[in-house]
Every structure is written in C-alpha cells, then in structure tokens.
C-alpha cells in the first residue's frame, strides 16, 4: 500500500504510534546499555609497586581495561619496545600468540618487564615507573586477543608517535 494513497486517519495514527514506540525503545535501550562507559583513573593514585600476585586488589583496574591497555601501547611505542618485540609475527619476539613463556597474566608480565628475563630482555624497573609497567603488562596481555584488523585503529594511532632514541620527528 502506497503511503498517502487512501490511508485512513486511523491507520496513520497507528503508524505514528508504532514509530513513537520504536523510538522510545531505542532511546531507553541506549540509556540502559549503550552509554555505559568504562572506568578509567586519571588521578594521582597510581600504583608505585609491583603486583603482589594474582589476588592483588589493583589488578581489576588494569586487566582488560581499554584505557590502560591503550596507554600501555603508547609507552610500548615510546620506550622503543618494538625494536625487539612486535605485535604481529614479523619479529622473533612477537606477542601475537598466547604462548607466553613466563605466563601471560599481569603479575608475570610485570616481572618480565621489571626484572628482565634470560635471553636478552633487560630489566626496566629502574628506567620506567611502576604505573607504566602495569599499563604495558596490561597491553601485552591484550595482544593475543587481537589481530591486525582489530588493531588497525590502534596501530594508526601509534604510527606517528615518537619511539626509541633515534626518532627524528613527525614533520619531515
């Protein structure tokens, strides 16, 4: 039936009513689930010590938190971690699979970054503050769960960032 051709007032009224109902349902579902933002901490209460184990109360704020992961990715780039490691399979020490030799949870990853590991990984605890190690551990933990398509946005974000000690500027 064409719109406006022989449509009675009653039908029009019902059509409008159903439109209003759909709009209301969409708006209320947006309010119920769509606007639930992730918690992030930008205040001065940052961790200053290593995680104490798998039951550390600070873990939930860092594990699976997108903000902390993206900050971790930023520092991963800044500190030049990519010179040896990569997120894809291009370099020997890649994080694209879940095969972490020393464990893939934040406490183990933290230990690997802070104290170093045999085989060339240096200790960073005197060179990088604790909060950044927390964030990088969270970032590395997230890597096996992503792939190049899911990471596309993040890779683009990190593309122009300074890295290591030989970066020569965004403007060339």
């Amino acid at each position: 039936m064409g719109r406006g051709l022989g449509t009675s007032d009653d039908e029009k009224w019902r059509l409008n009513l159903s439109r209003v109902a759909i709009a209301l349902a969409m708006a209320s579902s947006l309010g119920a689930w769509g606007c639930d933002s992730e918690k992030r901490t930008v205040d001065a209460t940052a961790p200053v010590t290593a995680p104490t184990g798998r039951s550390d109360p600070r873990l939930p704020a860092y594990a699976d938190n997108k903000f902390q992961q993206s900050q971790g990715g930023l520092y991963f780039t800044w500190y030049g971690c990519g010179q040896c490691h990569s997120q894809s399979a291009q370099r020997p020490q890649n994080f694209s699979t879940a095969n972490f030799r020393y464990g893939g949870d934040i406490p183990f990853l933290y230990q690997s970054i802070a104290d170093g590991r045999a085989g060339g990984m240096p200790a960073y605890k005197d060179r990088v503050p604790a909060q950044q190690i927390w964030q990088m551990a969270s970032y590395v933990k997230s890597l096996p769960k992503t792939n190049q398509y899911l990471r596309r946005r993040e890779d683009l974000d990190q593309k122009g960032q300074p890295t290591g000690t030989t970066w020569s500027g965004a403007v060339r």
Binding site: D43, A46, Q71, R127, G160, P162, T163
Partner: protein, 319 residues
Amino acid sequence: MSPAQSALFPAAEQAATQFDVLTLMLWICGVMYLVVLLFVALAIWRGARARAAADSPVTEAADPTLSRALAIWSCVVVLGLTALVVGSFFADRSLAAARDRETLVIRATGQQWWWRFAYRTPGGAWVETANELHLPAGRTARVEVGSTDVIHSFWAPPLAGKMDVIPGHANVLDLTPQRIGWYRGTCGEFCGLQHAHMAFDVRVESPADFDRWLAAQATPAAPQSGDPSVARGQVVVTQGQCAECHTIRGTAAAGKAGPDLTHIGSRRSIAAGTLPMSRGGLEGWIEQPAALKPGTNMPAVSLSPSDADAASAYLLSLK
C-alpha cells in the same frame, strides 16, 4: 603594554594583514547596521504617526522616494559585499605570497599536550626545544607544523591566524614578527583532556639576540649553579627514569617521547604553560604531574624527597 594573546594587537605582518580585514569588516558592517537601525526607527515613527491620524489601518500610496531609497540600498549592500570580497582576496594573496625566507625553518610538532619546536642551526643540524618559540624580529620564519597523535591547532594570535596541525601531514605557516616582546600561543583545536594546558611562550627578539639564543640552545647541557645537590640531581635525572623519555644533550639521557630538557632552566614555564618556571614548580611537576595536569602522559616518578629536590635543582641549572 599590549596583551600577550590578542589578535587586536598585531605583532607580525600576517596578524596585521588579518587585523586590516577585521577593521574593514567592522566599518562596513557597522555602517550598514546603523543604516538598518535608522530605517527601523523611521518605520516605527511613521507607523505611530499613521495610527494617530486614523483609527483604522490605512493603505499608503506608493512612495517613489521609498522605492528609490530601496534601490540605492540594494546597490550599497552589493558594493559593501564586493569591498569585503576584494579585501579578503588581497589579504589571502598577501598571506600566501612568497616572502624572503632566508634559511630559518622551524618545525613545530603538537603532541598531547605540549609543543615540540625544532630549529635548524647555520651548521644544518636540528636543535630541539619545547613550549617556547623564539623568533627574530623582521625576518620571516617558515613554521612547518605537524602532529604525532590527534588534530591540534597552532595559534599565536598576535602573530597570525590559526593553522591546523594534522597527523601525517605537514602544514606551513609564515611568520614575520615586527614587534619585540613576549607573547603567548595556544592550541586552538580541542585535543583531549589537557587541551587548555597546551600553551607556548613566544619570544620575538632582535636578530642578534636570536642568533645568540640559537647558538646557546645548540650547545650541550652545562649545569650553571653552585648548588651542591646539582651533581646528585644529574645522576638522578640522566641515569634514572627521566632519561627514558627526555633528552639532555651531552648526557646519557636520549629519550625522544618527551620534551628536550637540555636548556629547560632557560624557559619561562613548565608543562606547556601550566606553571611558571621555578624550583618548587619543577619539583611538584616531577613528583605529582597528574595532580597538576590530570591525564598527562608524564608519569609520576617515585623519588625520595632529597632526590626530587636535587633533580629540580639540576634541571633549573640547565640554562
């Protein structure tokens, strides 16, 4: 003394050109606005007079004077708009015109939330500084602006209009400052939490002063202070956590992510215009950056109070 961050007190050729367009627009639009108000007043007065003369509405006979006035007014509007178009065309042409560029090229990079400035020395090397732009009066500097993260906008109102700072793309802006003094620039495009604390100082100085400043900036760091804690501070800063992001030329600190600190003690402000330069300010910024600038990517470095004090003494001595 003129305000440091006002487009109404131009200190460079480019800002003066734009100020001329603003003045032209103000006069043309101001005069037209007054004429419109005059006609409105006339209409109100005529309406009141007509109502006083008769109780019922009257139909006025066509008034040839009014028709002529309307025709003239239309011509005036077209003339005014034409003047504005011509004025802005010549201003654009003058802003885009090739100037005597000499060899002064400056790279300005916006980063959340500070400015990286790189100068080319007469020897051809690039020398970095941050949050403080020095320009020689009477010479044209070509500023190439770029971004490492999001879109910013380079805006020093007394010098020129805004220039968008786009990641992955270099925009170019010429600045020919004419008036010696300190000015203030800022980020003109919302870029995240600390957009409001992304300012920079601009120093316009005589060419001789500028050459001296650039030569001093190109030298490696040399602490200038008799304070006994400076030596300890140098160890803390150049061999500790600061060195991972900051460069202090002449020492082991060679990080690129943060501002170059080789001559930080000679700058006017800390953390992109957040605090004035002082030893206490530096110490507070090192110990609690997130309390002063929430969201900043500068991490809190956990130092003992005596080490933090020594670090601030060392940084302040880097003139």
